[in-house]
């Protein structure tokens, strides 16, 4: 898949933002007033900023409101609803916490649930796609949720929770790569099934339909060299998990905390780049490409 910056920014930032909102809704940290204000600004900045970024790849962003209509079948529509509900509920909760010094915990819990649901629905947009075997795995929502929680905990300063959550996310990430690398072969889809000609012999793509490129090739066919991908995986792993965990074990220090967050953010972004760039759409088969 083409690793479009808009979707990488979107999933990275909004995952972290909603992860943070999740913890804020549960009163972790238990803050009010200006401190709460800063936390909510960061959370909203990340989640709303991410959502805004996601509209950049739309052909007609002015019609985006229509996306609320199809919640019964569309994960993208559900994501929209969850995000709006989460942001609205958490907004009310934030007003209470920031301006009124009130902790409306029922609202907070509801907001937390919808924040996590937003991350889940986002992940399901990818998970549902049978056409992309690397995404079409139970580990995909696990990956998104574990990242959201780990990042949220980190941002929320929940050191004791952040370390185990980061370790869990790291484990899921490793499992996701391990299983993802085998997913295409395991899916059973190949040029033989794509053309129905597999029973006749070995099928090989010959002339493409057009000598130039097209939307499908631009959108779905992106080749990442194996060595390049391995390097990026190590970088991602180090930045997203190793560095933050090490820093969290050190005595608390605001600077270290900032480094941990930035490192985690960068690591997640690299992971997300790989999430898209390494995802192979079955349509590439028709073009003799993966």
């Amino acid at each position: 898949m083409h690793p479009a910056p808009s979707v990488i920014i979107f999933t990275t930032l909004s995952g972290l933002g909603f992860g943070l909102l999740f913890f804020l809704g549960l009163g972790m940290p238990d803050v009010t007033g200006w401190v709460a204000f800063v936390f909510f600004v960061i959370a909203y900045g990340l989640s709303v900023g991410g959502l805004m970024a996601s509209t950049f790849h739309l052909g007609h962003p002015e019609r985006a409101w229509k996306a609320f209509t199809q919640w019964r079948s569309s994960w993208l529509s559900r994501e929209g609803w969850c995000a709006v509900i989460a942001l609205t509920v958490m907004g009310l909760y934030a007003i209470g916490a920031v301006f009124l010094g009130q902790k409306w915990s029922v609202l907070g819990v509801i907001g937390s649930v919808f924040s996590l649901a937003t991350v889940f629905t986002t992940s399901m947009i990818y998970t549902q796609l049978k056409t992309i075997p690397r995404w079409n795995m139970k580990l995909t929502p696990a990956l998104f949720l574990s990242f959201g929680l780990a990042g949220g905990a980190l941002l929320a300063g929940q050191t004791r929770l952040a370390v185990p959550l980061l370790l869990i996310a790291a484990t899921i990430q490793a499992l996701y790569w391990w299983q993802g690398d085998k997913a295409f072969a395991k899916s059973g889809t190949n040029l033989g099934t794509a053309t129905g000609l597999g029973s006749r012999g070995e099928v090989r793509a010959f002339e493409p339909p057009h000598t130039g490129t097209n939307y499908l090739l631009r959108e779905f066919v992106h080749v990442v060299g194996r060595k390049h991908a391995e390097k990026l995986r190590i970088i991602s792993f180090l930045l997203a998990f190793f560095v933050p965990v090490v820093l969290l074990f050190l005595p608390f220090n605001h600077f270290f905390a900032l480094i941990a967050v930035v490192s985690h953010l960068a690591g997640v972004a690299v992971s997300r780049w790989l999430f898209f760039a390494q995802a192979e759409h079955v349509v590439g088969l028709y073009y003799g490409k993966r």
Partner: protein
């Protein structure tokens, strides 16, 4: 379920969007003839707001019956192409630069007249007028004939003259679009070589039709693409060995007696008696006082004229007269083809086909021809007066085109294929191959060539024709060629279509003489339509010591900014095909079907939005300004004001004009009839074409069928019935051979004697075409045209160029491995003549010693209104750079033409190359590169979102 419009109630309940499923399609449909290739399909041009909105096939049209190919549907992008020339141009920069100034038509016409008129009056041969993809050859040749130059031809010489001449000399008609398999009845269809470019939609339709019936297709082609991809069996033959394979099939079939003796006896010259005595008559037919070939009558045992009523020709009996034995042609064939040289085991390796496979194919042919023969309950009467109660069909059909003809042995190979058809009795029978009017037409009904030089006066007959013997060659008293292309000389005696590919090199060399003006139409000679492209560019811009161009003046007409435009001094911009009048005439290459005569027109369905004029109308204006004979009434006034006027009022013979339909004052005559001033309107009302059906019972056995012959006379195809025998044995060829043996007063130069003896064999032979100087060059290299493109025309088309914007060299798996190549790598491809460096791509379904590419995708920078970094100009390439119009020197002091020695057909499929892996060129562009041409029309727009209607 109740419907709301086309929406069902349920759909409405489900809140489905309401869409208009019955939108207006167009304001008006204008029916004309396509010109995106040589197929001439009928098209419906849908108009909206006076503009072309959509093009589809015309269901009523005899050629395409509603279907349309990719090119045809893309016509809208051609008619609006940014590459269209806009105004007459006069060159201001050096030739090849593309620097022009726009001029008015007045200046353009006066300039041309200024150059041409003097030549017409003093030395007409100094004008060489050659046309390329011209569909008005009966008119352009008429113009050239009345100008008086011997130097006219169209592009058949490098296209497929072998196929045309081989067919006409053998069976009085050819494949091309001049005949077709009997798609309704055939059960086995054999296709030789690349054939996707003529009659393309009819062949696709035919293949589709026979597959529905479960009939089988065998493809014989080194490349398994296109039609060969759908063939049930593919024979990946070594290029240039088709003749050997065919003769082996003949060997096997004759040996097994699987030949149609009755057919051979009745309709062919197999029983004709041939003089067997050494001397000047050897190999000539025994004829009676009327010149009619004689056969032995099985009833009387006496030699009898072949066409005498009641005669039953004997295939076996010999006849002695005055001590000279006369043997039937069939004896000579038995001797020749039963020889073990032709046994499958002895040709298998050379052809690259296992002997078992050759036998299997021969057996399958025999099985279908004889065990699955069909009979139509249709009575008919033959030319000897015998009435037959049935029509016997041998449902094996064949087709071939340039794949077999563009070799130096192509003429003989084409003849071999026709001989195979004839032996099987599959021509003009149900299930076999059928001619389309005006064919069948024996050689005798065709003109001989004319090329005398008579200042101020027309030639005495048409330029191109079919020589019957040495007496018809166009040589002057010193034995020098009369034509600039040396057609109809000892070098290529039967060059029935001329040799357009030799015109520029001969003119540049002043051999056989210098010319003054080169006048060309729709021929991209400085690019894909020439062998040795770089050399041709140099010849076109070569200068003499005094700084003048060697070819002093070049006039060129084209509708588009092709590579050739840059090399002309004066450009006469033509219209596109939807802006012009044309006729697709029975005098020329009509659109007939096997059971109907048909012709068609083009008419301006849109008006040009540029200052351009139809080329044929410009020719008429030039003729009028020069008062050319033939174009001028006795009182000195012009006969025609433009081409439309000519189409309607010209009469080749009384009552016979360019169009056969709606003749007579009331438009109720067909074939023959007075001029009808309303004829074009009647054609337009009728969908742009006219069909005259052949009566039932006249539609098979046409060369011998009295009913057909009478109908053809009525239609004006012949002046009298012309029944004839198929010429298994070609007496005209034997006459050239006799001359080479030293007989007769017309004698070839000594250096050509042996070649004439070897190649002018009156019975089909095969000979090796591997050329002198090919040592080390062992890989065959071919080109073919993609079905969605036609020569260079497709490139300027925004839709078609996306299909084929660049061309790799397709390399067979074995050679890929041998050279360590992978898709996208580059290879240096060299021939004795040149080298190119190009990207490669693997192809498994390919003869293991053959490489190939798509023809004419590569473009020169600056041409066709493309941007200079267009893939056509950076990655695309021409194989032409590797092919020379002359063969490498072989030490006899002469450069022999790279042509078939019989017809002069350019032998561009004889190319042999060597491939080596190469580093990608520094700029990652195919090599060689040429300097950009300055585009006289700029470049096209960036983006398109084409919608005419609102």
């Amino acid at each position: 379920m109740r419907k709301v419009g086309s929406q069902s109630l349920r759909g409405a309940l489900l809140n489905q969007p309401v869409i208009d499923t019955s939108p207006k399609v167009s304001d008006e449909v204008r029916k004309t003839t396509c010109y995106m290739c040589a197929c001439r399909c009928g098209i419906n041009v849908h108009m909206k707001d006076g503009k072309v909105a959509y093009i589809e096939g015309n269901r009523d049209h005899p050629v395409n019956k509603g279907v349309l190919c990719a090119k045809g549907s893309a016509g809208i992008m051609q008619v609006n192409a940014p590459s269209r020339l806009r105004k007459p141009l006069r060159r201001v920069g050096p030739r090849g630069s593309g620097e022009f100034r726009e001029i008015e038509w007045d200046e353009a016409i006066s300039t041309a007249v200024g150059w041409l008129n003097e030549l017409h009056e003093t030395a007409p041969q100094k004008l060489a007028f050659f046309t390329g993809r011209d569909q008005s050859q009966s008119f352009t040749s008429f113009w050239a004939q009345h100008f008086g130059t011997p130097n006219y031809a169209a592009h058949g010489g490098f296209c497929s003259v072998n196929m045309a001449a081989g067919g006409i000399y053998t069976m009085g008609g050819a494949f091309w679009e001049f005949g077709q398999p009997d798609w309704e009845h055939t059960k086995l269809f054999l296709l030789f070589g690349v054939a996707e470019d003529h009659d393309s939609n009819p062949i696709k339709m035919g293949i589709g039709k026979i597959k529905v019936r479960g009939a089988r297709v065998i493809g014989v082609n080194p490349i398994r693409s296109g039609y060969n991809a759908v063939a049930d069996d593919w024979v990946g033959i070594t290029p240039g060995t088709d003749g050997l394979f065919i003769l082996s099939l003949i060997h096997v079939l004759m040996k097994a007696g699987k030949i149609d003796l009755d057919y051979l006896a009745r309709y062919t010259n197999a029983p004709v008696l041939v003089n067997a005595a050494e001397g000047p008559e050897k190999g000539l037919f025994l004829r009676d006082a009327d010149g009619k070939p004689l056969v032995v009558d099985r009833v009387t045992g006496e030699p009898t004229a072949f066409d005498k009523p009641g005669v039953r020709p004997d295939l076996s009996a010999t006849y002695d007269k005055d001590g000279v034995t006369h043997r039937p042609v069939f004896h000579l064939m038995a001797e020749k083809y039963l020889s073990d040289d032709h046994a499958p085991e002895n040709v298998a390796e050379r052809c690259g086909i296992p002997a078992k496979r050759i036998r299997a194919i021969a057996a399958e042919i025999a099985r279908v021809a004889f065990d699955e023969a069909i009979e139509l309950d249709q009575e008919w009467t033959d030319f000897r007066g015998e009435t037959h109660s049935k029509m016997t069909g041998r449902p094996v059909s064949f087709h071939a085109m340039r794949g077999i003809s563009a070799h130096a042995n192509g003429f003989q190979t084409c003849r071999a294929l026709h001989v195979l058809q004839i032996l099987l009795g599959t021509i003009e029978v149900p299930g076999g191959f059928r001619f389309k009017p005006p064919y069948p037409k024996p050689v005798e009904a065709h003109p001989t060539p004319h090329g005398d030089r008579r200042p101020g006066r027309p030639l005495e007959g048409p330029h191109l024709g079919f020589p019957r013997g040495p007496e018809d060659l166009l040589l002057d008293e010193n034995g020098n060629a009369q034509r600039i292309d040396k057609a109809f000389t000892w070098e290529n005696p039967m060059s029935a279509h001329g040799l357009m590919h030799m015109v520029i090199s001969n003119a540049a060399a002043g051999d056989p003489y210098k010319i003054d003006t080169l006048f060309m139409y729709m021929a991209n000679m400085s690019w894909n339509s020439s062998m040795n492209t770089k050399g041709v560019m140099e010849m076109l811009s070569a200068k003499t010591e005094d700084g003048k161009y060697v070819i002093p003046k070049i006039i060129y007409s084209d509708a588009y900014s092709s590579e050739m435009v840059a090399y002309a001094d004066l450009i006469l911009p033509d219209t596109t095909y939807l802006e012009r009048h044309d006729c697709i005439s029975l005098l020329d290459r009509p659109i007939c079907e096997a059971d109907a005569a048909a012709d068609a027109i083009r008419w301006p369905v849109v008006a040009p939005d540029r200052d351009v004029r139809g080329f044929q109308s410009v020719l008429i204006e030039l003729a009028n300004r020069m008062s050319l004979p033939g174009f001028t009434n006795e009182d000195g006034t012009p006969k025609w004001k433009d081409y439309a006027d000519y189409i309607v009022t010209h009469q080749r013979k009384p009552g016979i004009g360019p169009l056969a339909g709606f003749r007579g004052e009331n438009g109720d005559k067909e074939g023959r009839g007075a001029v009808n001033p309303d004829q074009l309107n009647r054609y337009i009302e009728n969908g742009g074409f006219y069909v005259a059906h052949i009566p039932e019972g006249a539609d098979y056995y046409k060369p011998w069928n009295t009913a057909y012959q009478d109908w053809a006379v009525g239609m004006g195809l012949y002046d009298s019935p012309q029944p004839y025998l198929f010429q298994l044995y070609s007496e005209p060829m034997r006459k050239f051979q006799l001359a080479a043996e030293g007989h007769g007063d017309k004698q070839p130069p000594d250096h050509l004697r042996q070649r004439l003896k070897d190649t002018m064999d009156p019975l089909p032979i095969w000979y090796e075409t591997d050329q002198q100087g090919n040592e080390g060059f062992t890989v065959n290299a071919l080109t073919q045209r993609p079905m969605a493109m036609y020569h260079s025309w497709g490139t300027q088309n925004a839709w078609l160029r996306q299909l084929h914007g660049r061309n790799p060299l397709y390399v067979p798996t074995k050679l890929m491995r041998e050279h360590g190549l992978q898709d996208g790598d580059w290879a240096k491809v060299s021939s004795p003549h040149g080298e190119i460096t190009v990207p490669v791509m693997e192809m498994a379904a390919l003869n293991e010693n053959t490489v190939w590419t798509w023809n004419a995708i590569g473009k020169r920078k600056g041409a066709w209104a493309l941007q200079q970094d267009a893939p056509e100009a950076t990655k695309g390439f021409l194989l032409n750079h590797l092919i020379h119009e002359l063969l490498p020197p072989k030490g006899d002091g002469m450069r022999w033409a790279n042509s078939d020695p019989v017809t002069g057909q350019a032998a561009w499929f004889d190319l042999k190359v060597k491939i080596e892996k190469a580093a990608p060129p520094e700029d990652a562009e195919s090599q060689p590169e040429f300097s950009p041409i300055k585009s006289p029309v700029g470049t096209g727009p960036k983006d398109l979102a084409w919608k005419v209607g609102k």
